[in-house]
Amino acid sequence: MPVVSRWFIRASLVNLALGFTLGALLLWNKGLPIDSTLARLVPAHIEFLVAGWVIQLVMGVATWIFPRFGVRRSPYGSETAAWVAFALLNAGVWLAGVGPIVGRGAGAAILPVAGRLAEVAAAVVFAANIWARVRASGLSEI
């Protein structure tokens, strides 16, 4: 498993823990009310679990197990691109998930948009980088 996949997968586990913790708080609060303002955590709960956990895990595992390139180029494609996708996705998750909670005034509206844009950029970089690895298994000509 390449280093970047380990970072993707460990970050996805952290997001699973965060998403489940927020989810448990929300569900507990629904049955045994603690504080009505906890409902503000819903966007972060969704963001951590959908993008931070599921999507990030898929990206990490795909980078690890898809058919590799041969000896004349990096076996996992561009490592730089993979790291850029990792950074953009995680920045996006935090901006889109936590932005609405911590942002004030215009920031509360701008941060989630910036987060979504970062997630789109992560998807584009990831897709472009892994595109050529979606092929038959076996030795690559490159």
Binding site: R6, L16, F20
Partner: protein, 139 residues
Amino acid sequence: MPILTRWFIKTALVYFVTALVVGVAQAVQAPLGLPAVLAAAGPVYVHLLVVGWITQMILGVAYWMFPKHSKETPRGSDRLAIASYWFLNLGLLLRVFGEPAHTVHPAAGLGWLLGVSAALQWLGGMAFVVNTWARVKER
């Protein structure tokens, strides 16, 4: 494929079908005059899919396919893995029955079902994270 993985995946498949049936039941609830509890099952529908189907499928496949923890304990702690299966599923089942009932009958004193469900699902998720962390390695 280890036995626990088979349990995770088969249970995930049951939740997958169940979730889609709940989705259909929700769609026809008003036109067919079905019980109001179905109209309150929106969050259950989403969590059957995201927790019961997708997350549980991932847990089962990760337990099976991730790099071995060690020669002696290739899949980490079996106790933690089994605990994650039971906590997650008992918690989710409590939610499936408890949440719509609590929404429709808020004075019936069923809120504790959601509290217990929240705690169980949280424990299940944490057990998986702790047990899997050390298996995220080169080989």
